[in-house]
Amino acid sequence: MSNVNLTVNGKLHSLDIDPDMPLLYALRNHLELNGAKYGCGLGQCGACTVIVDDQPVFACVTPCAGMQGRHVRTVESLGTPEQPGPLQQAFIDTQAAQCGYCIAGMIMRAQALLEHNPQPDAATIRAHMASNLCRCGTHLRIIEAITRVVENGGLHVVHN
């Protein structure tokens, strides 16, 4: 065990954990941020996707040992049940979730795209989202949700 410093959603945490712990375990088991899910543990499904600095990463294969001085963001940073963020609202509006297990990862991967590129075309959205899988098969609604945010003007536009 040793001290690992993690900056998550703008807050600095000092955790007494094994430095070889994957980031996902620290988020879920030590910080109780349960949005990111454990899917395959192999970086193949994307259920654990979070944003590190400005890039989407698979938290299940991202070492805590590498997070010193870097900024981790999880789905919890995007909004609350009362005030969901633009992507969260669009996912609700399009009923993009079926079982919901993949959705936090989907939203974070989409968030990273729209922060870089507020007006991606359909092919760019598809290519960017290809690494995240939904076993229920709601990919079409997920794409629809992201497209709605793009059409409504992007992440900074809040519709009530």
Binding site: D20, L23, V52
Partner: protein, 422 residues
């Protein structure tokens, strides 16, 4: 006539002669366009499909997400960026108006139907070894496909390489390969393998080092090169390495499988191996037989002896990073290894290689799954590992595989490759 006059006349004559010679060198006639020929035997079209597959035409002539063989893939060269062209039978933007004669001239001499010089990124130095039958079959296949209207993307070549007639000089220097004469001393399979490797397969395009003008260095055929930041390893002495390749391993590797003791094709070799997986196994066995017969190079670089010993601190970081990022698939107890029988990372050729380049490239970019193709997939780690962590990880993995031969210059290699990674 005065001396002066005579000299002037001689100079003019020389100048005119020089111009005429340059013109003769740099000018090629257009070949008249034709109506797209349609009537080919299905058997010939099927044979042509295999020639086109063996030639990896689609690997360069199809851009990601683009129409099959409609071109548009950027090829970054030291002289600028080229875009592959449309080789579907579209009349306006493809090769639909090309007679067989024009196709043969392009494949053997690098001249387009309208007479302009093609850049040698198009491997006509190899394709010229194809026999008439294979060229006619490939032509039949290409002419029988669906035409796609997709105009060529303009190349962005730097001066003076944006002047195509200069390729005439390049051809004069480097376009010498003569048709292969089958060797009676070797088996028909070996001869077939050599024909595929040196001809359609154009393995030397990546695996032979290039000179300053971008031509394959003579005398160093298949001795190893660099392509898109990846090491294209030497193909010489494959059978006499520390971890020698067997025929069965090489055939499997060439057909995109995961091979015990060596790993699987990644980087630019991945799409090539996926194409080879579509060839009859006998053809790939022939290629493997030929490749395995190549003796080790006398110029093979000596293994670098370095005394660099990883500090205890960085190796504990490397071990932590490996546990968190890699062990889920590559650890000894990982299901991928215990159930699926994947080889230990320490046995793969990229970890055993004298340089760290391919290990670093694989970790940065991962191995993207190909939609519709079976095969391994690995996530990219460019966003989650810093340069320093990647160096610690590489040193740790290499330390497990070859403790007495640490990789030299890890930090500078990582920095250079990171800059190239999109």
């Amino acid at each position: 006539m005065s001396h002066r006059k005579r000299w002037t006349l001689a100079a003019i004559a020389l100048g005119v002669g020089g111009l005429a010679a340059a013109f003769g060198l740099m000018w090629r006639p257009a070949i008249d366009p034709i109506e797209r020929p349609m009537a080919f035997e299905p058997a010939q079209i099927a044979r042509g499909a295999q020639v086109v597959t063996a030639g990896d035409c689609a690997v360069c002539h199809t851009r990601p997400g683009g129409e099959y063989l409609a071109g548009g893939l950027p090829l970054v060269t030291p002289f600028g960026t080229l875009y592959s062209t449309n080789i579907t039978p579209d009349a306006q933007t493809g090769i639909g108006q090309w007679p067989l004669e024009a196709f043969q001239r392009a494949m053997r001499d690098g001249i387009s139907r309208d007479g302009h010089f093609l850049y040698p990124a198009f491997p006509y130095t190899h394709y010229r070894l194809l026999d008439d039958q294979d060229l006619a079959d490939a032509y039949a296949y290409l002419m029988s496909g669906p035409p796609v209207h997709q105009p060529a993307t303009p190349n962005r070549m730097r001066f003076p390489m944006n002047l195509r007639p200069l390729v005439a000089g390049w051809n004069l220097l480097f376009l010498h390969s003569a048709p292969l004469v089958p060797t009676a001393q070797a088996s028909p399979q070996w001869n077939r393998g050599r024909y595929l490797v040196e001809g359609a397969g154009h393995c030397g395009g990546c695996h032979t080092p290039l000179n300053l003008l971008g031509a394959e260095k003579t005398g160093q055929a298949l001795a190893g090169g660099v392509v898109d930041g990846w090491a294209a390893p030497s193909l010489l002495g494959l059978a006499s390495r520390e971890t020698p390749w067997t025929q069965a391993q090489l055939v499997d590797y060439l057909q995109a499988k995961v091979v015990d003791g060596h790993g699987t094709a990644a980087g630019p070799m991945r799409p090539v191996s996926q194409e080879l997986a579509r060839l009859p196994r006998s053809d790939v066995e022939a290629m493997a037989e030929y490749l395995l017969s190549l003796p080790a190079s006398p110029h093979q670089p000596a293994t670098l002896g370095t005394n660099a010993v990883a500090s205890a601190e960085s190796s504990s970081l490397g071990s932590d990073l490996f546990q968190a990022a890699c062990a889920g698939c590559h650890g000894a107890a990982a299901p991928m290894r215990s159930i699926d029988g994947r080889p230990a990372l320490t046995a793969t050729s990229s970890v055993q290689a004298p340089a760290s380049r391919n290990f670093i490239k694989t970790v940065l970019e991962g191995i993207a799954p190909t939609p519709g193709e079976p095969g391994p997939a690995m996530p990219p780690f460019a966003a989650s590992l810093s340069d320093q962590q990647l160096a610690a990880l590489a040193a740790f993995v290499r330390g497990q595989a070859a403790p007495d031969r640490p990789w030299p210059a890890l930090h500078s290699t990582i920095q250079a490759l990171r800059e190239e990674t999109p």
